[in-house]
Symmetry: C2
Subunit: 193 residues, 2 copies
Amino acid sequence: MNKNDRRVRRTRGMLQEALLHLIVEKGYDDITVQDIIDRADVGRSTFYFHFMDKEDLLEWSINQLRAYIEMQQKGVQPVVKNSGEIQLGTSMAMLDHAKDHKELYQAVTGRQSGAVILHYFKGMLRDLFEDEMGTVLTRATPSLKIPHSLAVDFVVNTFWTVLTWWMDNDIPCSVAEADKTFLQLVHSGMYGD
Amino acid sequence: MNKNDRRVRRTRGMLQEALLHLIVEKGYDDITVQDIIDRADVGRSTFYFHFMDKEDLLEWSINQLRAYIEMQQKGVQPVVKNSGEIQLGTSMAMLDHAKDHKELYQAVTGRQSGAVILHYFKGMLRDLFEDEMGTVLTRATPSLKIPHSLAVDFVVNTFWTVLTWWMDNDIPCSVAEADKTFLQLVHSGMYGD
DNA sequence: AATGTTCATGAACACAGTGTTCAATAATCA
DNA sequence: TGATTATTGAACACTGTGTTCATGAACATT
């Protein structure tokens, strides 16, 4: 299968678009392969020619997003200011993207979501944050008390918490403010500083 | 349907036990109703006489757990020490329970889990923590910068992070130490204090 | 111990969704 | 243009769901 064939690009594009729209409409878990091919107007056998199943299509779609975020993220170098404040590219890039695709992110962070989609999404976040933290953490603080793996999990889950909260409540809160809240929680918790 | 009928208690008990064992064996999502009734050795129609579906049985089971934890938790009053340290009953009670049912908690926190089970589990955590925090937060700090709903989410997710990390890595770390780590992250983040 | 009530059983059923196969057709590439 | 490669749709076997119903078993009560 030649991925540069115009037909292939077209088919995969339509399937991905159908998936994303359906996630917004009914949540990932309730989607059936039938729904996807109906919406994309693609033959059943065609779907299985490209992807093993629904999950395979999701994984591919998430990887497309990952590539995009990685591109955006490279613009912002992770920084540790003198004041102790941290700045990360990943969180800003993700929040920006979330702002531009609010419906999708509301669906992914909301109750309608699914275990699988969460798994892949958080997996992506983990990779992205771990990259940056490798740089920041060693530079910023040899005095970190908790294990590295727990630190990464903590950052990922705190980001997820803020993202979910930001998406759920229609709060007139800018990307910068959301990012600041995230960094504050990670850095100093609810009371520290 | 009389819930005190010995037959009812027996049937529901067998179904719950089957569910929990199957969660450990293959993860919630992969379980079918067929699996449950096979393992419980209960008729198909009997299952549907008691529960609407797999999810209904799960919800009932989680509520059983909630009742148990609430009982345990009441032993420990939430405290704010002079040093600023916090002490919560919920986290200790949960960690204790997790220690005694490690296989189950590993299955629930692990990759094999499911969206539905996470939803109910975190819902339970949210209720329990919110109760305690209503007391602690108002008493401890009028200077909390983030909204209350975000604070509760943050506590729940941070607890989930620590619990998951504790279950995943077979670290020889006591309940008290895990609880301390959790409280530190919530209170002061990774760097604060 | 007998009785009326309630629960448990298992087989049968219609239904929805999955993933595969195959021969025919249409679009693409070079 | 001709060879290649993707797409199509219908048919198929399969797995699991949730319901129904007549029969049998366990229960509480007197």
